[in-house]
């Protein structure tokens, strides 16, 4: 499992050593190194390595394979836990491990890492540097999802930030500098607050430790005054909410998306945004259950605003990429709403929607990139009639757009359904008067009903987009535009396939994290 995190970093070094003129070699090396985590992870998921271990039980290989047992979701402790002292003076450890929450996201990262790598084959400018930074980025993201030490977490968090800055700033669109610096500073500002909170945890947790596992059980926090805990909470809240992004902190997202090159938009939407929600579930909620509960309505309102407001703003965007970016805001609002419900269903739904959003929005960004590479415009007003010009493209576009809309039978539905059900059912912990004399469970039910309106808005903007981009008579301006080429096609087919597959059979995914959700919900007092 460690190998998964190391592979991209190793890959970055290897790519650095290749002659910058040998483009194919660079591309395939990068692909190989981003493929490695995926292969390892699939093996862990499906138990390949256990079979292999039975065939090759000897020597070093046997030893290695024995540590790669099949992933067990139903246990309290972490799978593949590795704990090595890193900086003894600061009591920093290199601790990594996967549980029901991080495993699917780690898997998603490995998967999207490969997809976006294939999607990067169209990059023409400074290929070597691009792939070096790309691999660093993937390594950072994978690290974030595996790290179990706050310090390590913070390091990986920042590692993922820097390559992103350069990737947007060098390979981006016309306003790339502005977008890159905005992205960088905005998220950096957030993560500085997180750092303060991490140090706070270290000092006041009573353990003098950065370990997430230990601090999750720390008694010391309970004796802190409320105001201090609230400040610590808000440190995390700001960092994660900016990353998610939640309503008032979302404006970096459209700019970054619009300016970033296609594969980087994919990574940004599919993975980086998930880091924020992951932080909610891994750190914020388990560490401060009482605050999570008290501030639940507040965060819930922000999530609702994200849903409705993000959807409406998406509706009138003239730029296709911006439309998808704002739809991300709306979808992530749903995710946060599910987390806020503190109900096993809601949390299941939130994780499922994260995966769904990773698949469908990633695919949509790739598709927008396909258009942009050909037409050199993303303005919805300029397009039209593409379903005749590019049939293969439009088939996948239809599938992914409807998947993103949450059409039942496609992947997006399960997340939305469970979130709304979870929010509606958020009973046990919420049966008290929360705000303005309204009982918590009633409040959550109102939230659920408002969130459902978001579903109609989603339908409206997706359909309107489809109408203006795909339907109508073939646009004479784009007549003869070639359909997708191989690398674009094969980057999209897996996404489309899983959009469909997990839509009709999401069980394998749920199996990974249902125990996690149950445990977390129990801990938060929202369990039934």
């Amino acid at each position: 499992m460690n190998l998964c995190i190391l592979a991209p970093f190793l890959g970055a070094i290897v790519v650095l050593l290749i002659d910058h003129r040998k483009l194919q070699r660079i591309r395939y090396t990068a692909l190989g190194f981003s493929l490695a985590p995926l292969v390892v992870m699939l093996g862990l998921w499906l138990g390949w390595w256990s079979w292999l271990e039975r065939l090759l039980p000897w020597g070093f290989v046997g030893e290695l394979l024995r540590t790669w047992g099949r992933f067990v979701p139903g246990v309290e402790q972490f799978n593949y836990l590795l704990d090595v002292t890193w900086i003894p003076l600061m009591r920093v450890h290199y601790t990594v491990g996967l549980d029901g929450l991080s495993f699917p996201l780690f898997l998603l990262s490995a998967f999207i890492g490969v997809i976006a790598c294939i999607g990067s084959f169209g990059i023409k400018k400074r290929v070597k540097e691009y792939f070096v930074l790309y691999l660093l980025l993937i390594g950072g993201v994978l690290g974030v999802f595996a790290a179990l030490d706050y310090f390590l977490f913070y390091v990986f968090w920042e590692i993922s930030l820097v390559p992103m800055y350069f990737l947007i700033g060098i390979w981006g669109g016309p306003k790339k500098e502005y977008a890159a610096i905005k992205f960088f500073l905005y998220t950096l500002a957030g993560s500085i607050f997180m750092l303060v909170s991490i140090i706070g945890l270290f000092l006041y947790g009573g353990l003098q430790s950065f370990s997430m596992i230990d601090l999750a059980q720390a008694e010391g926090l309970k004796y802190l005054p409320l105001i201090a805990r609230t400040l610590l909470f808000f440190g995390f809240f700001l960092a994660f909410s900016i990353k998610v992004p939640l309503f008032p902190f979302h404006t970096w997202l459209p700019d970054a998306h619009v300016e970033a090159p296609t594969p980087i938009s994919v990574i940004l939407a599919s993975l980086l945004l998930k880091m924020g929600a992951y932080g909610y579930l891994r750190i914020m909620y388990p560490t401060f259950p009482d605050l999570a509960y008290r501030l639940g309505p507040f965060i819930g309102v922000l999530a609702l605003i994200s849903i409705i407001y993000g959807g409406l703003v998406a509706m009138v965007q003239p730029d296709l990429k911006k439309l998808v970016a704002y739809s991300s805001v709306a979808h992530m609002g749903f995710v946060i709403l599910g987390i806020v419900s503190m109900n096993p269903d809601g949390i299941n739904g939130a994780i499922m929607l994260m995966i769904a959003h990773g698949l469908t929005t990633g695919a949509l960004f790739l598709l927008v990139g396909v258009i942009y590479d050909r037409a050199h415009t993303r303005m919805i007003a300029d397009l039209g009639g593409l379903s005749i010009t590019m049939p293969r493209f439009s088939f996948i576009m239809f599938l992914c757009a409807f998947g993103s809309m949450g059409l039942p039978g496609l992947v997006g539905f399960w997340g939305e359904f469970l979130i709304i059900k979870g929010t509606f059912t958020a009973t046990a912990a919420w049966q008290q008067v929360m705000a303005m004399g309204v009982r918590g469970d009633v409040l959550m039910r109102i939230f659920a009903v408002i969130a459902v309106i978001g579903v109609v808005i989603t339908a409206a903007y997706i359909l309107w987009m489809i109408e203006r981009v795909m339907l109508g008579r073939e646009n004479p301006r784009w007549k003869g535009l070639p359909d997708m080429v191989a690398f674009e096609y094969w980057a999209l087919v897996p996404l489309a396939f899983f959009t469909f597959f997990y839509g009709i059979y999401p069980r394998p995914m749920f199996r990974l994290f249902e125990f996690f959700s149950q445990n977390l919900a129990n801990k938060l007092g929202g369990g039934i």
């Binding site: 039209g384 059409l407 709304i420 059912t425 659920a448 359909l463 109508g472 069980r507 749920f510 249902e514």
Partner: protein, 725 residues
């Protein structure tokens, strides 16, 4: 004996899915002929199996409530099995779906011949059939909802089958969004049910609600019932979400027949049938169902009187008939409601196919102002259409009569029992029966009798309507593409002509070309009868329309339908001869009035047309009571305006704030930089300059060189200077 077909019912659902997958993924390598053969033969198999299921039920070989379940989805506590639940209404609805879908598959071979997207059409109607069968059999409401939405998607894609047309694009979007508004209500209803009862399996809900120990307050039951009914309102195009169905006629005619007449729109009624224990648990819900049904039946029938497009008349008629079904269900006339659902599916599918045949015969002309006298040219179409129309009008002894009578009888009984406004429901139902007969007579007269008007100069208002559409298309394309692409006339011409040229029997799609041109020239003077693939479905459906009613002919003492469908709501009702008589009179009266007004056209009718209030009324009807305009002005536009406002807000307020913070920091940095340069660094430099000044003063003194001339020009100047600075 094991109920064989029941056992394998899940495979029956899957069969159309197989053809969908085969056609959509391998369609590009298949010939059109192969794809329609796959789809149609698969449907024939489905018909056989569905008949098997029905027979097993009728013969009592299968349990009354057949339930079979497979593990499907688990997420924590949430367990959703994939379960098939077949009771008698499900069995008969499944049979109806299979038969109509099979006939429409056959029909489409003739109607869609030569279309550019021929195989995609078959893929989509197969997918649709799959989801409809799923809706009919699914036990778990979540599974039901999934199929329901897939159905909605198919409807969306098929309404927009000719997506080059502006009107089709608008119609498809409208259909999806309007039905989704209803679906959202239904979705909340399902979640509410889940939340409050812990189960949403239809089979279990029946037991829970009939057990009498409901852990729910009456208000809650009403709310749940109404929310679920909202889904039915959307899907079945009832007031106030009825606006999408007439526009949905933009789709190809077989689609209108299958989806927007026989199956999908009836799925709303079927939802109420399926959830009847929940709906009927609250009197308020039942009253709302009945009221919505009766009102829709009445006011859509009114609009049906003035429509010019043959398919739109039928669309309004569909809404009106669906209203009858809801009326029936709402007044506890479960038997009649379901009976009308089945009968209506047969005769309305038949009528749409008949209209399709007419449209094919008239060279894809849908406007009745350009038809007339077709009885001569298309005898099979005419006679089948006549039977189907009589069935719709409720003329005895055709099937529509028996079921409509049953519904109105129940309404009368309910009114008798509860009195008050319930009488109004019954009266509305009777008036709607009158109007139905009238507009169908009008349709028959305009289409089949008199003289063929297709070769005349088109009337003025017809040209105006066409020009409006044309202008809409051109304006839109010009706006989008910067140039006009030639308007509607250049759309689909080759395909249509090929369809005409080839008829149904000729093999291969010889698209366009001289042959098609020539053929269309020849046929342009006279409409002609359609090929067998078109007429055979008509004959089959007309046979159903004529004969199927007898299974439930209560006035003749045949109660087999009642026994079959009976759900346990009281004993079979007495036949109320008064209502039978009134309904028959209404139907005959309506037909007679229609014949006088549109067939005879005496002078006094013509003079009516010149009266101001009649004109105004007609205008209101032609504009469909201005619902579209109302929704456009008060819902669509405000939402878009709000969205625009939010987008501006996002840019000018929130983003500006962020940038302002950034700029503020930068400004602070500049100020600080200035401070750093001039104050901090300046102080340091000042010290330096001070000593520099001091140096200037002191050096001459110290070195003794007061004249300022260099003493040793070449000697260690660096050190000398360096020291000074």
């Amino acid at each position: 004996m094991q109920p064989f077909f029941h056992q394998w019912s899940i495979l029956i659902i899957a069969m159309p899915l197989v053809s969908f997958v085969a056609i959509i993924f391998f369609g590009q390598w298949l010939k059109d002929r192969v794809s329609h053969l796959i789809a149609t033969w698969m449907m024939m198999l489905v018909i056989v199996c569905a008949t098997g299921v029905l027979l097993e039920k009728v013969l009592g070989l299968a349990p009354v409530e057949f339930l079979q379940s497979w593990d499907w989805i688990r997420a924590g506590d949430l367990i959703i099995p994939f379960a098939v639940y077949i009771n008698n209404p499900a069995a008969i609805t499944m049979f109806m779906t299979a038969v109509t879908a099979g006939m429409i598959h056959l029909f489409s071979q003739g109607y869609m011949k030569g279309d550019v997207r021929y195989s995609r059409f078959f893929a989509l109607i197969s997918l649709f059939t799959f989801s409809m069968l799923g809706v009919v059999l699914a036990d778990h409401l979540i599974a039901f909802y999934i199929f329901w939405e897939i159905m909605g998607f198919c409807s969306y894609a098929l309404i927009g089958f000719y997506f080059e047309k502006r009107s089709a694009q608008l119609a498809m979007k409208k259909a999806f969004i309007v039905t989704r508004i209803g679906d959202v209500g239904m979705f909340i209803g399902i979640v509410l049910l889940y939340f409050s009862l812990g189960t949403v399996r239809i089979s279990e809900l029946g037991q829970v609600f009939s057990s009498g120990q409901l852990p729910l307050s009456q208000t809650m039951v009403t709310i749940i019932g109404l929310l679920i009914f909202a889904g039915a309102i959307g899907k079945s195009a009832q007031f106030p979400l009825h606006v999408w169905l007439p526009d949905a006629m933009e789709g190809p005619t077989p689609v209108s027949a299958l989806i927007h007449a026989a199956t999908m729109v009836s799925a709303g009624v079927y939802l109420v049938v399926r959830m009847y224990p929940v709906i009927s648990a609250s009197g308020t819900t039942l009253a709302v169902v009945a009221a919505v049904g009766a009102f829709t039946a009445f006011f859509t029938a009114l609009i049906g009187l003035v429509m010019k497009d043959i398919k739109r008349v039928l669309a309004y008629s569909t809404m009106s008939q669906l209203g009858y079904m809801f009326l029936g269900l709402g007044v506890l006339g479960f038997t009649g409601g379901v009976f009308h659902l089945i009968n209506h599916a047969f005769f309305k599918a038949g009528l749409f196919l008949g209209s399709g045949s007419v449209i094919l015969g008239c060279h894809h002309e849908q406007d009745m102002r350009r038809m007339g006298g077709l009885a001569k040219f298309m005898p099979i179409t005419f006679w089948t259409f006549l039977i189907l129309s009589l069935s719709l009008m409720g003329i005895p002894p055709f099937s529509g009569f028996w079921s409509k009578d049953e519904v109105l009888g129940s309404a009368f009984a309910r009114a008798h029992e509860l009195g008050g406004l319930y009488w109004l429901l019954w009266v509305l139902g009777e008036i709607a029966a009158f109007l139905t007969a009238a507009y169908m007579t009008r349709l028959l007269i305009l289409t089949f009798s008199g003289r063929y008007r297709g070769n005349d100069a088109p009337p003025e208002d017809y040209l105006e309507d066409k020009a409006r559409l044309e202008q809409e298309q051109v304006a839109w394309e010009t706006r989008r593409y910067g140039e006009s692409l030639g308007g509607l006339a250049t759309l689909y011409q080759p395909a249509e002509e090929a369809a005409l040229a080839d008829g149904g029997e000729a093999d291969g799609a010889s698209t366009g070309g001289a042959k098609a041109e020539e053929a269309s020239e020849q046929h342009h003077h006279a409409p002609r009868e359609s090929p067998w693939v078109v007429t055979v479905p008509l004959i089959v459906l007309a046979a159903f329309a004529a004969l199927f009613g007898f299974v439930g002919a209560a006035p003749l003492g045949i109660h087999s339908w009642e026994r079959f469908i009976h759900f346990g709501h009281g004993a079979p009702e007495e036949v109320n001869w008064l209502v039978v008589g009134i309904s028959t009179l209404m139907a005959l009266g309506g037909a007679g009035t229609g014949w006088v007004i549109w067939g005879q056209r005496p002078a006094w009718v013509t003079s009516w047309y010149r009266m101001e209030w009649v004109k105004r009324l007609e205008l209101v009807l032609v504009h469909k009571f201005y619902f579209d305009e109302f929704y456009e002005a008060y819902i669509v536009r405000p939402v878009v305006q709000m969205a625009k406002g939010f987008a501006q807000f996002d840019f000018w307020v929130i983003d500006l704030l962020v940038n302002a913070i950034g700029a503020g920091t930068k400004m602070f940095a500049y100020v600080y930089a200035w401070f750093d340069l001039w104050v901090v660094d300046g102080t340091v430099n000042l010290v330096g300059y001070f000593w520099l000044g001091v140096k200037r003063v002191i050096r001459p003194v110290q070195s003794g060189n007061l004249s300022g001339e260099p003493v040793h020009p070449g000697a260690v100047p660096g050190r000398h200077r360096g020291a000074a600075h």
